[in-house]
Assembly symmetry: C2
Homo-oligomer: 234 residues x 2
DNA sequence: CCTGCCCAAATCGCATGCAGTTGCGCGCCA
DNA sequence: TGGCGCGCAACTGCATGCGATTTGGGCAGG
């Protein structure tokens, strides 16, 4: 499925485009509403429209890209309410991750996770995009440790969506605390009972969501679309 | 995506194919391993390979279809372990559904849900496929009542995957009890506290999973792939 | 009778071409 | 100056064509 297909490495042009756009979105290089015409996309990745088009379809299925008939594809613009839903789902899924993982981490796994957190620490004063990407990588890596392909897939997808929501709706930045929370998470997953670990993950994600989403001045100009949305539903 | 693109009705050939195959899989008309060549697919839906191919991509992203490079697409063959993961995730997601819904159901909504259960009752002696489809429809309708598009999307997807798992790994049938459980669910969602409703949903889904999955003689010939899988991973 | 090789048919991967739709800019009119 | 409508360029929707790859079945050899 997607996970196995995204595993680019051979001549997988399709996966390359998907991954490229995903990363661009995650790092906030692409912002909601940005246009993604098939032609120019294919050109910049050195392939024909066909593949670019296919990739856009995939990304639309993941919720990162919006596809309207006969219109240029755009980067999705999650509403605050979307963001709320995404984080609710994310909490539910990542609780499962830590529940399955609690007490099973091997030393190399712990080391790998700590290495990611260290990278986060190193990047904490760099561009915003890198921080978000690394934090996301931490959560995805955690999911991958479960070796449950379907869970991995959903966590990955929801993490990307969350990243998009953060970069478009969130405050400029607030990753400082997340780093400590990640370290604490590793510890509690390694040693703690699964309930406690699950609870801590839930609190961590809630903290991320409220630090970034609820506190700040979420709404900019383009938010009028989310305001008008209820009126346009019928 | 599904939600916004499912706005079918006009000339949406793409959505038609997706929905057609989804339904065929859900009703067990298509079984895991069945081949889905682009040509014949497009022919039977009256479109060119291009669209059929695109639809297969979408279904692969949803996990219903397996796509291997240069090979004919096949209906996915979930392993028992996949099925376990799917139901774990499904429990987590549907708990959210009933938590959001508890105590908010309007009378027409209750009536609509009861109508679906009634249809289940009517179809309880018909072909297996119809029962599974209606039970699935119940859960999806429940999710739709939350009006949370992203949650709806994930629940829908996971329900389809669960349906595929049931029809391929499950016993011939055991929907009798599910009908009563659905009725009980409606009641507790309508009146009960959200915790209780959430708990009942979890128990219902666990019951479905264990009735169908754990009890029976899950493994047939093709399961040797899942047996060999761990050895082939590196 | 079983095994292994080789070739033709089936099928996929991808680019390109054409037709239909959108929307943007420019000129016209108030 | 500001609003309106028209026409063209850009873009998408989709089909088809060609080369590459897999498959499975026949034939030769053990």
């Amino acid at each position: 499925m997607t996970a196995s297909k995204a595993r680019s490495g051979d001549g997988d042009r399709f996966g390359k485009i998907c991954q490229g756009i995903r990363r661009a979105i995650l790092e906030a290089a692409l912002m909601p509403g940005d246009r993604l015409p098939e032609d120019s996309l294919g050109e910049s990745f050195g392939v024909s429209r066909t593949i670019a088009r296919h990739a856009l379809g995939q990304l639309a299925a993941e919720g990162l890209v919006e596809l309207r008939r006969n219109r240029i594809a755009t980067v999705s613009a999650p509403t605050p309410s979307d963001a709320r839903d995404i984080f609710d789902i994310r909490v539910a899924l990542e609780r499962q991750v830590v529940q399955h993982l609690a007490g099973t981490l091997t030393d190399p796994q712990v080391a790998e996770l700590k290495a990611i957190v260290e990278a986060e620490h190193a990047a904490r004063h760099g561009p915003d995009g890198a921080s978000i990407r690394l934090a996301t990588e931490f959560h995805i890596r955690l999911a991958e440790l479960t070796r449950k392909p379907i869970l991995i897939r959903y966590v990955t997808e929801i993490c990307y969506r969350a990243g998009l929501s953060l970069s478009s709706l969130g405050r400029p930045h607030s990753s400082e605390c997340a780093i400590n929370e990640h370290l604490a998470l590793i510890e509690v997953i390694r040693t703690g009972p699964s309930d406690k670990a699950s609870q801590m993950m839930a609190e961590h994600l809630e903290a991320v969501a409220s630090r970034a989403l609820l506190g700040g001045e979420g709404r900019q100009a383009r938010d009028l679309v989310s305001i008008l949305q209820p009126y346009a539903e019928d």
